[in-house]
């Protein structure tokens, strides 16, 4: 049994990201003026400094840009190995998420694999994990 995942402290900037999974949505902050994405989410656009930003539901699919198979248990009881990946998100140019690739044996995960989001809920936080698209 894995220990509980570290829990983000919710605030004005990050709440839509960490709770969007409750509605099945992967929310990335998007600018209403220039259309660019800002991640990690902030209350202004990092491209044009507009304050007209809002959470935007992206498709929830993406590509594995890089990954590592982690063998070191960083917390007591943490089951290893597991995959940590940097996923390039579809529909949000320039945005990458650090996440886990789940539901596949670690040795089957590879660069450029297509993946889609799956949410793991814990204590009101919806952690966006990714699984390989068959």
């Amino acid at each position: 049994m894995n220990p509980p995942r570290p829990k983000p402290k919710l605030d004005q900037e990050n709440t839509a990201f960490w709770t969007g999974g409750g509605q099945g949505q992967l929310n990335i902050t998007r600018c209403g003026d220039c259309g660019e994405f800002t991640h990690p989410p902030r209350i202004l656009c990092r491209h044009c400094q507009s304050e007209n930003v809002a959470p935007h539901a992206v498709p929830g699919t993406g590509t594995i840009d890089s990954f590592t198979v982690n063998h070191q248990p960083w917390a007591k009881g943490l089951e290893v190995p597991y995959v940590i990946a940097r996923v390039k998100l579809d529909g949000a140019p320039g945005v990458f998420l650090t996440t886990n690739i789940v539901r596949s044996p670690v040795e089957t995960v590879d660069f450029e694999d297509k993946v889609r989001v799956t949410f793991e809920e814990q204590d009101g936080i919806f952690y966006p994990l990714f699984e390989k698209v068959a």
Partner: protein
């Protein structure tokens, strides 16, 4: 001319070890005394104290001593002091000191980095009180929830991608750690950290931490203090040691977020360094590259132009080129992999020592005159070009 320049005039280091019984403040004072002796300066000539990252309450094992602690206990009449983490990597404290002496604010500045991570692990209640938190905030909220808790997990992804794109092999990467262990064996201060030379067989069969980084690709918690004294060019007549000029320096951060950067800051920082000097990479006699993880020197070799991008693995293949008697001696004191996780300052310390011909058993030949020392990896980095005129 010299009056407008900044020089490193003294270097010092405490004993290096794992779970040293000596208090980190005392280790720091040991290193200060050695650096003062090394420079030929007295404490009452010091008028600035700079450190990275400054004392961190709650995580004092990572940074147990602040600039104000030294000012208090040593009675330093300081004109400017600083300890701050929001800077381009560890050596930025030396960079800030160089700016201070060039501006005429200070004449002789103590720069230091003290770590007590091994000792702190042995006494977490005293040294790691901030480790227990109910929630994660700031940048760690984007990695820790996915059990990407260590910088090893972040660095590993870029190392894996480098292998995927450019064909670097684990046998090539191994040379960083093997070279570090060889050099550490010739460094008396590293003997508490490295007791035998690492072999390729041992490396290849080592426990994996997070692919492609194995146990020997990651530095180990250690305890020590390292001091570098930065002096103004017009104060060199007070110094008895050979001054080493800071010929150029650079630092950079593009995104602060580890996982949003396309490539590590060593590339931008490395390119910038050569825009501030007439020297080129071909003039460099030795390099001391931050190696908290074995992949980082690869990014520095490529970023500073010692080899084309993607060729770092092939450049170090077999280890001869980066050995002490090779064409580009790298981490001649053992680096952090061989000489302990002293977090950045060891690289400047060794560069100065080599340029003065004072490295003893590990001294490189060829009358070295120019060295690069770097710190950092990931989204931020800093580099110093050091010259013996």
């Amino acid at each position: 001319m010299a009056g407008k320049e900044a020089y490193i005039t003294g270097v010092g280091q405490s004993e290096v070890g794992v779970r040293l019984p000596r208090h980190p403040l005392l280790l720091t004072v040991d290193a200060v005394r050695e650096a003062l002796d090394n420079a030929g300066l007295r404490l009452d000539q010091i008028d600035g104290v700079f450190t990275y990252p400054g004392k961190m309450n709650g995580y004092t094992a990572f940074s147990p001593v602040g600039s104000e602690d030294l000012i208090e206990v040593l009675g330093i009449k300081s004109k400017w002091h600083m300890g701050a983490m929001e800077q381009p990597a560890q050596l930025s404290a030396i960079g800030m000191a160089a700016m201070a002496v060039k501006q005429g604010v200070c004449r002789h500045v103590i720069c230091f980095r003290t770590v007590y991570e091994a000792g702190g692990m042995a006494d977490p209640a005293q040294y790691m009180s901030g480790a227990k938190q109910d929630t994660v905030t700031g940048s760690s909220q984007w990695t820790s929830p996915f059990w990407a808790t260590s910088a090893a997990c972040w660095t590993a992804q870029y190392a894996a991608r480098h292998m995927h794109r450019y064909g670097m092999t684990r046998e090539q990467l191994a040379q960083i750690a093997i070279n570090g262990s060889k050099n550490a064996m010739a460094n008396p201060r590293a003997r508490a950290i490295t007791k035998e030379e690492l072999t390729l067989d041992k490396y290849m069969s080592a426990r994996m931490i997070t692919t492609p980084l194995c146990l020997y690709d990651c530095d180990r918690f250690s305890d020590a203090s390292t001091v570098v004294i930065v002096s103004a060019g017009d104060a060199l007549d007070e110094v008895t040691a050979t001054p080493i000029r800071i010929a150029a320096m650079s630092g950079s951060v593009d995104r602060y977020s580890w996982d949003q950067v396309e490539e590590f800051a060593a590339y931008e920082t490395g390119a910038d360094l050569w825009t501030r000097t007439d020297y080129t990479a071909a003039d460099v006699d030795t390099v001391q590259f931050y190696d908290g993880f074995a992949f980082l020197p690869i990014t520095w070799l490529e970023g500073l132009g010692f080899c084309p991008k993607g060729e770092g693995g092939r450049f170090i293949e077999g280890g001869k080129r980066i050995a002490r008697d090779g064409e580009l001696p790298l981490n001649t004191f053992g680096g952090q992999l061989g000489a302990g996780r002293l977090h950045g300052f060891g690289f400047a310390h060794e560069a100065v020592t080599q340029l003065r011909g004072a490295a003893g058993e590990r001294q490189i030949g060829g009358d070295p005159k120019l060295a690069v020392a770097t710190s950092g990896g990931g989204p931020m980095a800093a580099a110093l070009l050091l010259a013996r005129d």
